[in-house]
């Protein structure tokens, strides 16, 4: 190996060091190889399938941000929130309001930033309210759900023309139109639609995923897990637990907010059902099934479950559309009963055990004597 090669592997190792750790699955070179292959395949995907499937997949990517937001706060810090949709929806509405009032390309980009800021700030306020007030565990779950429902009831009656912020009518039950995400300056902009939106969301999702890996494997991530495992003990070690939870919840809110902007921009529409109990429970389903501690699992489960629900509209074989929610409920119940950690962690552990047992059987000498090369 030349000196250059050494340097390359060294920096590659350092990057891997950031990205890998005890809190994520997939800590090996083959994993990253498969990951790169997967991303390239997803990038090539729109070229292989029709416009409709591309549009549909973009929607799943937007929802994946919502799943990641819950996976981050629940899987790693133990905060089960039914209210992530509140920040998701607030950001979508905020994006719509800003975008409708300032319809230039700069305006819409400012809208993107502004909406994420609003959603994050909302999460920070709620987080402060809860964690500095000593609300914990199941009470957090209930309070977040109640907040979502309050928004639902409130927004549904904002139908009159007096419920307008500038040029943007809130629209009440009928919802609000939202402009498409646009990249550009001044009046000239490139509207992100169809394949363009797909690539933007794919890129954002990959970047977010990698960023979360780094965060979760860092010292901060270890603190989060410590809080999840034993909050009281972590506090005795001198960590400011309410503050950490606040930061975690705020980051979760930011993730949900980003997803909300993408989702609103995808359909050019948002309505109060985003705050309703049916939609609020979906992230819980995705993350429970995919794997609470697996970021990739959360993303994968979102795509697969939403895909299944869409296909059920036309019926899958003898299973009619009315079974859609029964299947979702059954999936949730089944996973929680038999694979409580979620699909990815459970399968990963099973493979681990299987390989460990196989390697034990294949050994006649103690491991230390096994050749390294």
């Amino acid at each position: 190996m030349s000196d250059n090669g050494l340097a390359e592997t060294a920096s590659l190792d350092r990057i891997r060091g950031w990205l890998e750790g005890p809190n994520t699955y997939g800590n090996s070179l083959p994993f990253w190889g498969a990951f790169v292959v997967g991303v390239v395949a997803l990038a090539a995907y729109p070229q292989l399938v029709g416009v409709y499937t591309t549009i549909q997949s973009a929607r799943y990517f937007a929802l994946a941000f919502l799943a990641l937001s819950l996976c981050f706060i629940w899987g790693y810090a133990g905060i089960l929130s039914f209210g992530q949709v509140a920040f998701f929806g607030v950001a979508a509405y905020a994006f719509g309001i800003i975008g409708l009032n300032f319809s230039s390309a700069t305006g819409i980009m400012a809208g993107l930033v502004g909406a994420v800021v609003v959603g994050t700030a909302a999460a920070a306020i709620v987080g402060y309210f809860m964690f500095y007030g000593g609300v914990r565990d199941t009470y957090v779950t209930i309070m977040t759900l109640v907040i979502a429902l309050v928004l639902n009831t409130f927004m549904a009656q904002t139908a009159g023309s007096e419920w307008a912020i500038g040029a943007a009518q809130l629209g009440g039950f009928n919802g609000m139109d939202i402009p498409s995400l646009t990249l550009g300056v001044g009046q000239t902009g490139f509207e992100l639609e169809r394949a363009a939106l797909y690539y933007t969301l794919l890129g954002a999702l990959v970047v977010t995923y990698l960023g979360l890996r780094v965060l979760v494997n860092s010292r901060f991530g270890l603190t989060m897990v410590a809080i999840r495992e034993d909050e009281a003990r972590t506090e005795t070690f001198g960590y400011n637990v309410p503050f950490v939870k606040l930061v975690v919840f705020t980051v979760g809110g930011a993730l949900a907010a980003v997803g909300g902007v993408f989702y609103g921009s995808w359909g050019n529409y948002i309505d109060p059902t985003v705050f309703g109990i049916a939609f609020a429970a979906l992230p819980v389903v995705w993350v429970s099934v995919g794997g609470r501690e697996s970021l990739l699992g959360a993303i994968g489960a979102t795509v697969l479950i939403e895909r299944m629900r869409t296909e059920l509209s036309s019926g899958i074989g003898p299973i009619g559309s009315e079974w859609a929610l029964v299947i979702v409920g059954g999936l949730l119940l089944g996973v929680i009963l038999f694979m409580p950690a979620g699909v990815v962690p459970t399968v990963a552990d099973k493979i681990e055990t299987f390989r460990a047992r196989r390697s034990e059987k294949g050994q006649s000498t103690p491991p230390t004597e096994e050749a390294v090369e």
Binding site: L80, Y139, I142, V146, G329, L337
Partner: protein, 307 residues
């Protein structure tokens, strides 16, 4: 538009009476919606997110026999029985695995709720014929109020609470149950079959949910499979505001939430009444994170420590 009603009730003895009846209605509703959930939460710490669907099973269990010709009181008994049996089955197969995993129990029961409500939709269709509210009304001044929902049901609610109080303080079962709540390990060491306690408690909780469903079957109007959520939100809001003690918690939470809900509805309209309820819940959760009875416990302990 949040328009205040064009005719707020003019202050008079009669409108005070109207407010009082409205409060009784709210109070009775919240107590009955909550008590089944509160028992399970107080005893096992499990929040059964399928509670609304349990109540719904009580409704369907009453409505179906009624429309087949069974007189209403007997149909109500059927409703209670069906829900109790259902509850025991669910406890033995699903819930008992979650006594040490409380957050997971919420998720699992949520999945169960989806299955039940969609299952009812598939099997019984989008709506059952409704049952008219019995017993008519009582008139006073220009107003009238339904006897059933404003007098009978709140009375039953109080009786239920009273009965639970007697059960928990005067019976053998009650004492064992309270021991199990306090300290399951010690209780087991003293020979109490905690497993049986849990099943029995869940059965009582389910029976109470079934009772609520049966009682409200003629007061709901439409009987559709998504009515479970009518009860669920108020129930678990009341449970967390009330705190861990079943009787004191349910009583005080229903009282507080009922007053605000009734005041909002009477003075400003039903939208404000709903918002009041939800906002009071948020504030109460923040100010008293262990609920009202949790706060009372804490305060009593501090007083004892001071003495």
């Amino acid at each position: 538009m949040i328009t205040t009603p064009a005719v707020p009730l003019t202050a008079s003895v009669y409108s005070l009476l109207a407010f009082f009846f409205q409060f009784l209605d709210s109070f009775g509703f919240i107590v009955l919606a909550t008590v089944g959930l509160a028992i399970i939460f107080g005893m096992m710490g499990v929040i059964n997110l399928a509670h609304g669907e349990f109540i719904l099973i009580g409704v369907y269990g009453t409505a179906l026999p009624y429309h087949a010709g069974v007189p209403l009181p007997a149909a109500m008994v059927v409703g209670v029985l069906v829900t109790t049996v259902f509850g025991v089955v669910i406890e033995r197969t699903i819930v008992h695995r979650f006594y040490d995993r409380l957050l997971d129990s919420m998720v699992a029961t949520w999945g169960l709720a989806l299955i039940i409500s969609q299952g009812l939709l598939i099997v019984f269709g989008s709506s059952l014929d409704s049952i008219s509210t019995p017993l008519g009304n009582i008139g006073y001044g220009p107003f009238s109020s339904s006897i059933y929902s404003k007098i009978v049901l709140p009375l039953i609610a109080l009786l239920v609470l009273g009965g639970l109080y007697l059960l928990f303080t005067r019976t053998n079962f009650g004492i064992k149950a309270r021991a199990t709540i306090e300290d399951p390990e010690t209780a087991r060491a003293m020979g109490i079959d905690t497993d049986r306690m849990y099943v029995a408690t869940f059965a009582i909780g389910s029976a109470l949910a079934g009772l609520t469903g049966a009682l409200y079957a003629p007061a709901l109007g439409s009987i559709t499979p998504n009515r479970g959520s009518t009860f669920l939100v108020e129930a678990f809001v009341a449970v967390v505001v009330g705190g861990p003690s079943v009787i004191i918690g349910t009583l005080t939470a229903s009282g507080v939430l009922g007053v605000f809900n009734a005041a909002g509805s009477i003075l400003f309209g039903t939208f404000i009444g709903q918002m009041f309820l939800l906002m009071v819940a948020i504030v109460a959760l923040r100010v008293l994170p262990s609920g009202i009875s949790g706060y009372i416990d804490h305060w009593q302990q501090r007083r004892r420590a001071d003495e």
